[in-house]
Subunit: 185 residues, 2 copies
Amino acid sequence: MKRIAFLLIAVATVAGVVAFTAPASGHADEAASPIASPIYGVKIPAGYRDWKLIAVDQLLIPGMADQLRAQFGNDLAIKAFKEGTLPFPDGAIIAATHWTRVPSENNNEVLDGPFPGAQSFVVGSPVNVQFMVKDSKKYAATGGWGFADFKDGKPGDKALHETCFPCHRPAKDRDYVFTRYAPAP
Amino acid sequence: MKRIAFLLIAVATVAGVVAFTAPASGHADEAASPIASPIYGVKIPAGYRDWKLIAVDQLLIPGMADQLRAQFGNDLAIKAFKEGTLPFPDGAIIAATHWTRVPSENNNEVLDGPFPGAQSFVVGSPVNVQFMVKDSKKYAATGGWGFADFKDGKPGDKALHETCFPCHRPAKDRDYVFTRYAPAP
């Protein structure tokens, strides 16, 4: 059973990661997706790419994933992050966007003179986007969160979405949210 | 002379990078900075941390800098990025925020079961923030851009700011802007 749980987490975390396919024409955030995620019924919120930034991060799984990532929040989520409100209020939505990480030859050419060995990495292709939608009643069985994972505007399957909550469970003391707000420099 | 130019670029690029001091209390974006950058007279625009995201990137200079970065744009800048408008219109502002990159032990604990060797890196401490402000008349001598580099809410010195434009010159065909817009997954 433990092995199966691990496998499920594995599938969830890497979902969309190993497929380096070109993005679909048009951007997924230009309109709400007509297709909802299985189990949770979460659609792509229109305009999420223009939401305020929570934080950025990097994930490296040798041979499987090499990503730069950004998390966005709607106004309710951002307010909760800034004020340290836990649990997040109903209506809060967090979007996690994942791109491939690629070296920037342009930047490295500029940097190489003064900084031999300098390495600049930038965003490559879009990989997938994940959402967490807070509704403490509707999603009471999963910590009050509904989950969704989209690639090229299409949600992953039921098996994939069964892995979301178990993976987030270790962050229970922060209302199942791993990301922390990145302060302004 | 070439060596001096390189040194200046070096200073500019790494400015604030090697100092891992704790951030000043309060965030630099909560109010416009009362202090303007030398040469250009650019102040910290209030609320820039809440601007829309242009892209994210990573910079590694072994032994000197290890950063996760995000670029924000005001509405004029974001519109120009989305529509591919060059040159950027007067009034466009780009903010480049730099944080230290640190491994996330929390995330790695969760990932380690299914993905031995997985490495998650997150934002550590704020390092510095840089601004480019477009005013084609006021800043005609520097490609139409005014520059600023702030650490803990205070601008760097004149020598530092003399390095901004020479470093951006190689990106002349993109109106001196290195960053490209990261599309929504």
